[in-house]
């Protein structure tokens, strides 16, 4: 029986029958994985709090051939992130991060970049300076790290620099093309979202710095709302494409 030993972050925990739990992790060496924790619902069980969502743990899994579900043989807490589970806002925001990650990542594909992004994201949520900002930044970097970084400098149609087109009242983002699109290239069927200069400037800045440094900014609530909507629409488009791909393969 092959053994998998890796550090991981617990994404979700579901009841499985009377005694077990089904745990989804994001692991450092194997990406998103699912495992069964036998007996984890029993009153006295060896897992304790190590399988609670957001927990950063060291994980040992047994994988049986012909059996899709691995069995969790050991989980030791490296950092519990317990404060995230003790009040309302961090639970909600943490859940939001986890949901986004769950939806965009395929199973069993190692992606250390995403792993460290999640860990940092949870750390920022725990310190709680601006959790709303943290979730939006997390979304932006999740998209970029997953390979969908939008083009914020040139039109995706004609490749003209946006500085040439910025003067035009219409600045649009095309989900389909994953970037800015100038009025000349906008077609009627393209799903375009209009984007303000402030939002564009902020998103351009983000593409040049890392997740941690991005937290030094404190954009207005209005700007954050706009960026949140834009990124969510783009995420929905990306995830929709994933589903189509999976359905056809």
């Amino acid at each position: 029986m092959p053994l998998l030993s890796t550090e991981a972050i617990v994404l979700s925990s579901l009841r499985l029958g009377e005694e077990d739990k089904l745990i989804t992790f994001f692991s450092l060496t194997r990406g998103k994985i699912v495992g069964v924790a036998k007996g984890a619902r029993r009153f006295k069980n060896r897992f304790g709090a190590s399988l609670e969502p957001f927990t950063h743990c060291h994980l040992v899994l047994f994988e049986k051939p012909n059996n899709k579900l691995a069995r969790i043989s050991q989980a030791d807490i490296l950092y519990s992130f317990r404060k995230l589970r003790e009040s309302w806002e961090p639970i909600e925001r943490g859940t939001e991060m986890v949901r986004l990650l769950l939806r965009i990542t395929p199973e069993e594909q190692p992606h250390p970049g995403l792993y460290y992004l999640l860990k940092e994201g949870l750390t920022f949520l725990e310190t709680g300076v601006n959790r709303y900002l943290s979730v939006i930044l997390f979304t932006a970097y999740l998209i970029a790290e997953s390979g969908y970084q939008p083009r914020w400098d040139h039109c995706v149609g004609c490749n003209r620099s946006v500085t040439e087109t910025a003067a035009a009242p219409s600045r649009f983002f095309s989900c389909k093309d994953g970037g800015l699109i100038c009025p000349r290239c906008t077609t009627s069927e393209a799903q375009c979202i209009s984007i303000s200069l402030g939002a564009l400037t902020f998103l351009q800045t983000l593409s040049k710095i890392d997740f941690r440094s991005a937290h030094q900014y404190s954009p207005s609530l209005l700007l954050l709302r706009e960026i949140e909507t834009l990124l969510k629409d783009y995420m929905a488009y990306i995830i929709g494409c994933h589903h189509l791909l999976n359905a056809s393969s």
Binding site: S12, S13, L14, G17, E18, E19, F43, K44, G48, A49, S50, E52, P53, F54, I77, S80, R82, R85, E86, S87, W88, I91, E92, T95, V98, R99
Partner: protein
Amino acid sequence: MEKKGVFNTLIEQLMALPGVGKKTAERYAFFILKMPEEQARTIATAITDAKDKLRHCKICNNMTEAEVGTPTAVCKICANGARDPQKILVVEEANTLYAIEKSGEYKGLYHVLHGTYSPLSDNGHEGTSASINGLMERIKQGMSFGISEVILAVSPNIDGEATALYLTRMIKPFGVKVTRIACGIPAGSDIEYADEVTLIKSLEGRRDV
């Protein structure tokens, strides 16, 4: 379709019980065959009676007996005038209620949620919204005789935590004291095997001795 046969049907039905696999179901089936007929019929009747007569109490959602054909009923605890109506102990499932009742230590009333508010599952608190509404109704109505405390006996995991936070937010505006049962080292276990979260939680919940 070929007929399955009475014996196989029995095995299959027994397998519907939690923790019963094919081997155990077979063992049970053979055991039932050897049983005096009277006893086997008693088991069968007990099962059908339970389904026919057991209802959720219309006040607290606890299991209770009702006449066949009556849609709702009030359980023995809610109907007992000697219980303290100023305290409501909220449990996720009825088995916690039974465990607490067995101790005989608690004299107040109960409310059974039949689940938790789970932020990580897609349906959130759909499963418990009716029972939570029921609890809020009780609190509103109970204002007249002064409900003094709502005790939350929920699991020390993220779903229990979210349920507690959600209920606290709903109940607090009514000026009712909300408490939560302690969380820490299980009785009868060894402290050296407790993980850091369990230890911190029990440290936070410490009391004077």
